[in-house]
Every structure is written in C-alpha cells, then in structure tokens.
Symmetry: C2
Subunit: 412 residues, 2 copies
C-alpha cells in the first residue's frame, strides 16, 4: 500500500479504510478513538502497530471459534502490522478460570510443549508463521521475583478482582476460588507491558483481563493498548458456544467434505452470523444475499451452500470448495451414491441394528441416541428405513448405512 | 533442670510444670494437646522447641503491651527452648493491615534498618539477645520467585482470606483492600515453614495469620506449629488497647519513677489484669492479694504500690523499684517536696497560666486540656490551686508546678 504519508487526506482515508476492515465482527473496541489515533500514527510514521493475541497452550484441536481472532490477526498482518502471537507457557500452567465454574488444574511443562506444537501446526492453516512473532511468556515471567509479584498485586484491589463475573458467581455459590486465579488476569496484563502491545485481541469473556493490561501499561508509564473484543462464535446448534466438548464445532483440520456438511447442518437463522464471523465475504455482499433470500430470488439452501464453499475456500482453496459442494450435492441432494463415500470395516453377517450403529460402524455415541434415531426413521440401509430397534440386518460389502441426514458410510 | 529423661513420671511432671508456666496469661493455645506432646518430646529427647515470634520493624518505642509476648519468650528461654526472633525485613515492607482500617504504606529499606536497631535496643531490656536467634525474613523471601509465590497463593482460597475480620469489615464498608495484603498472612505462614517453628506467639488479632503457618507447614509435610495466642494488653485508661498514639502506655524505657507513677494511675479494677499480664507474681500470690483486699486486710493503694514496684523491678531491679516507691510516696502521698523533683527551665517573670503549662513547662499537650485542668483545680503553684485561666503567675526559681495528680516539676 503506497500512500503519501504527508498528505493528511490520504492518511485519513487510509485510517478509515483500515478501521473499517479491522472493526468488522468486533463486539467492542476500547476505545475507537484511541484505535484511530494509533492507526493514524502508525500510517503517518510508517511504524507497524504491535498486535497481541495470547493463547493458553491447553486444548489441542482448533475449531472455527478459535479461528475468529486468528483471522482478525491475519487482517492486521495483511495491513502490514506486527502480529505478536503470545503463547502462555507460564500462565498456561496456572490456567485461567474465565467462563469455567471450577479451578483449573495446572499443566505440566511436557503437556504445554506438546500442546504448542499441535497448536502452531493448526495456526499455520490461517496465519503465515514466518511473518508473525511467536513469543512465550515464561521467557519473562519466569524471571520475576516474589517482590515483582507483590508489586503487581499492590496495583489491584480485592473488590476489583471479585467484580469479574465468573469470580463473583463462584463466590456467591460458595464454590472455591483459589488465590492463584487472581494472578492470571494480572500476569496477562503484565504481558502487554512486556510486549508494549498497541492492540490486544480477545473474546468477550476476556474483557476483564484485557483491561488489566491497560491498567498496568498506564502504571508502567506506557501508552495504553486498545482492547479489541471479539464475540464468541456460537456452535452449529445455534445455541451454545462452539466447543469441542459439546460436539457443535467445525475443526480447522476437518476435511473439506466435513466442513461443508457441517455448515449445511446449521439453521437458516445462523447463516448471517456465520457469513460475518467465519468468512471474508464483504458486508455489502452479505446484505445482498439477505435481500435476495427475503425477496425469494435466492433459495436459503443455495445461500448456505455458498457459505459452506466460502468456509472451505479459506482453509483448502477454491477447487476443494467446489469439490466439497459437488460431493454434498451428489450424496445428499441428488442422492447419487455413485461417489466416493467414507468406508467402514464391519464384520459381514447378521447383526442387531443398534450394535451396528454404535459398536461396529461407530456412527453414534450411545444406545439411547441410536434407539431414538431408529424410531424416528433416520436409520437407513441402502436407502431403506429400518424403524425396529430389535431388527437384525445382514451386513455385506458395499452396503450403505445412513444415520440421520449428514452421516453416511459404505461397508468395505 | 536435671530430670531423668527415661523416667516417665519425671517427664510427665516436667511437662506439667512447663505447661503451667507457659500457658500463663494466654488467651488460647491451638492446641493444648499438641503443645503438651511437643513439650514431652522436647523433654524426653532433650531437644529444645523452636519458638517463633515475628515482629514488623515499624514502630520505634516499645511499651508493656509489646512486652507481653517478649516476656513469654523469656519464659521459654529460661526453660531452655530456642527463641527465634523473626524480624519481618521483607514483610515489613508490605505491612500487615491487621486491626487497621486502611492499607498501610510500604516502608523503605532504610527505615526498616533504623527501626530494627531501635527495636533490638529495647528488646534487650527483656531478653538476652546473645541467647536468642535473630532472623530476618528477607533472607529467604527475597530469594522466592513468582512461581514460588503462585505455589503459595494456590494453597488458599479467596473466601478463606476474606473471612479475616478486618478484610471482611473493610470490604463491607467498600474500603479498598489491596491484593498485596492477602500475601501478608501467607508469607508469615511461610516463615514458619522456613523456620520449622514448633510454637508461634502472637496477639489475638494475629490468630488468622498464625493459623496460616499451620496450613502451610502441613502442606509442606512438617509437624504443625502450636499457636499461642496472647491477649492484647489494655492501656492505663482500662478501656483502649495500650498504644503509643493513645498515650495510655508505659514504655519499657520509661524512668522508674514514670513507670511507678503510671501504674499508680490505673483503676483498682485493672490491677488483677496487670498483675497477671505484666508481672511475674505467681498466681497463688495474686489470689492472696485479691483476698486480702476483699477482707480489708490490704489497702488497694498498697496493692497498687506493690504492683508498681513489681513492674519497675522487671526492668530496673529491686533497688530501683524501692526508690521509685519512696519517690512516689514522698511526692504524692506524703506531699513531701523535699526530694529531687524533675526540673524545668522557664523564663522568670509574669506569664499567663495556660502559656506556662503548655508552652513553657510543657506539662500538657494543648490549650483545651490546660483550660480544663485549671478550671477543675488541678493546677497548683507551690501547692496552691489557681483556677482562673486568665491569671498570670510570677515565675521564679524553685517554684513548684503541679498539673494534675501525677505531674510535678520544679523551676530551675
């Protein structure tokens, strides 16, 4: 981007341009004025802003909920800013209880190291690892002394900490809050001091912690960081937060067909949210799609397929997106089974339908789930529904088993 | 003390003897059984117990309230136990808010060092400094890291800390409680781990902190210390805690005459408490004195004079105690002024009575106090009361000025 840094109007336009791109999908920016000033300074002095995102090396499988801030980082990166990808090698051992109702267990150093590897392996699907600066907070936090800790503690009051929603909730419920948990937001804030961060990204549940960075930077005589608060991505069910444990997620390592199929399973109501939060489709285009659906010129199913393709495109490219759409249409829309289907190995011969679904083909997690699906007619052998939970079927090679609308396998 | 360590009965008797001496004047011992067991082990293995008393190097003038635990240490010392006199060179910089309604200011290292010198200079009036081990907690706490701090923090919950009375009170009043204050009881507890303390002494307001030592010792795999909770000494007024700022104190560096005079100013009701807490008079003797006062065979004034002499004896010896009593009787009881009186330098000539009392002779702290004393007839020149606050007197050498019952000076 070549602009005349001495031309006020060009700078102002560039500030607006960057602001519009970067504020997309944000819940809150604390605060917008400071952010614009930082952008202006950055553009007019040709100095990249320092953008911090901290993660705890805890979980191992990234889903599109995690991808929301990572893709925001990508936008900063594409605009020439410096991305500081902070891995909480020190704080990860404490664990932040945000949004959790219990004190978290400490992680061992070995677990942390293994998790980082798995994590970065997935992050590189979104960000160019060579262009970001990966930093580890153990590098500076391990050097702090008890005196340093006391100095940090002295800058906050008990009431201030207790005001954090999950703390006050647990205290009100007489659930234990360990004193160590108070240190988490403080150390997260201190990381911003150490990194001289200009902007920190985080989900809404991180707001309290992000603001502590502002507190500490001020006390340490630094310019305060801008807090960019991202909404939490809702899961495929449209109700709960996207999470691995709830099973309502799209993993960044899911196959193109799985990604596409999972997008197709969401409700029509969730589409706009997903278009905004997990794709790069411009706002104008999203409005257009909405209008077309409203006036009947675009079928919601088609809009959803386009959404699915957009998502696959981000992680696997345009060609894979097209193939995933074709596969889906063949299998589910045209019911054309003359395509590659996932194969399962199941012993040939007579078997009870529930055992087949749960124990052998492993399409469902439990007996009660299987019983419900079968009674509702969702279980099909070669496109024929079997509704009797006591029925036996004769398994043979090439047999096609369906469990609900989105699960289909072929016996090897 | 030579006892047969293998003779169960002798050991048992010695345990009882030591327990009786040491439990004198204690508010609470947590717990008595453990204490007896520790004494038994100490006696039967000929291993002294490790007795901890921690002080913050904050104030500079010791009074008999401070002397209560110091004299308890003396008893332990006399019984052959090891006294660990802990000076909170590290924790003193934080300041413990116990009993205070506000966060305390941190002390500088210079202040701390100066205070220690003044403090030990007074402590040696009670304890033999050569026989005690003076330890400084900066020696180990300065070496702790942030990780160590987190490990300590993880062993306590927020609710546990908030339960401390002064914290909960301040929180309820919306007064700030700094997070650093939570560290004080924890570090005090950790000191016990470091010192492997068998017993820790402290006043009632210290109970919460002393118990944290038990928590941490247990978590660190040590035998838990016994907490010996001492009552807080009431001041000369019989109402408030003895303290320098309230002026209701007897300083350990007060002159024998001042000590004696101050004891004589207490109410008859306070006598028993003082006999128990600030003298070594055996319980049996105290009971005898009470009985004699009750049956009229001992005048309370005489009992109080004996109390005064006992107190002076502790700090200055028997001879000085006798002299102080003589002085007091001469000046106040026999009104014999033909003794050495404290002398003041006051310019000769006419002066207003209030100015004389407050500004020149400096017998009273303020004008309103002087006005009240004069109106009540407590101000006398050469034994003649002057009740007019506007009166002038003609100051000359040898003139005797009284301000109330206990203050008397002679103009030089």
């Amino acid at each position: 981007m070549s602009i005349d840094r001495n031309n006020e109007i060009e700078v102002k336009n560039e500030v607006e341009r960057q602001f519009n791109i970067l504020s997309r999908g944000c819940d809150e920016i604390i605060n917008e004025n400071e952010f614009k000033k930082k952008l202006e300074k950055s553009i007019s002095t040709n100095t990249p802003l320092r953008i911090k995102l901290g993660i705890d090396p805890t979980g191992s499988e990234l889903h599109l909920g995690h991808a929301v801030p990572l893709r925001k980082l990508k936008q900063f990166q594409d605009l020439g800013h410096e991305v500081l990808f902070l891995i909480g090698t020190f704080t990860g051992r404490i664990g932040d209880p945000t949004g959790k109702s219990e004190t978290r267990k400490m992680l061992s150093e070995e677990q942390v190291n293994e998790n980082i590897k798995t994590y970065l392996d997935q992050v590189k699907l979104i960000l160019d690892l060579d262009k970001i600066k990966v930093v580890y907070n153990a590098d500076w936090l391990e050097k702090l002394s008890l005196s340093d800790a006391l100095n940090l503690l002295s800058q906050f009051t008990v009431s201030q900490m207790i005001s954090r929603e999950d703390f006050s909730k647990r205290l009100a419920e007489n659930k234990p809050v360990s004193l160590i948990e108070f240190m988490y937001p403080i150390l997260q804030g201190y990381d911003s001091v150490e990194l001289k961060a200009d902007v920190e990204l985080g989900a809404t549940e991180q707001k309290f912690n992000l603001l502590r960075g502002r507190d500490l930077q001020k006390n340490f005589g630094q310019e305060q960081q801008v807090c960019m608060i991202m909404p939490i991505l809702v899961g495929l069910d449209g109700v709960e937060k996207m999470s691995k444990s709830l099973g309502n997620y799209i993993g960044v390592k899911d196959t193109p067909n799985d990604m596409f199929g999972k997008v197709m399973s969401i409700s029509d109501e969730l589409m706009e949210n997903y278009y905004t939060m997990i794709t790069d489709v411009p706002f104008g285009k999203i409005e257009e799609i909405k209008a077309q659906i409203a006036d009947g010129s675009l079928h919601p199913m088609e809009a959803k397929k386009q959404l699915g393709a957009e998502v696959v495109k981000i992680y696997y490219g345009e060609e894979a997106a097209k193939e995933a759409r074709d596969w889906f249409e063949n299998v589910f829309s045209k019911r054309n089974l003359d395509v590659d289907l996932p194969e399962v190995e199941v012993p040939y011969g007579q078997i009870n339908v529930i055992d087949l679904l749960v124990k052998e083909a492993k399409l469902l997690g439990g007996t009660s789930e299987a019983r419900r699906l079968i009674s509702q007619g969702g279980f099909k052998i070669n496109d024929e529904a079997i509704k009797d939970i006591k029925a036996n079927v004769n398994v043979e090679s090439g047999m096609i088993i369906r469990a609900g609308k989105k699960k289909i396998v072929k016996v090897k």
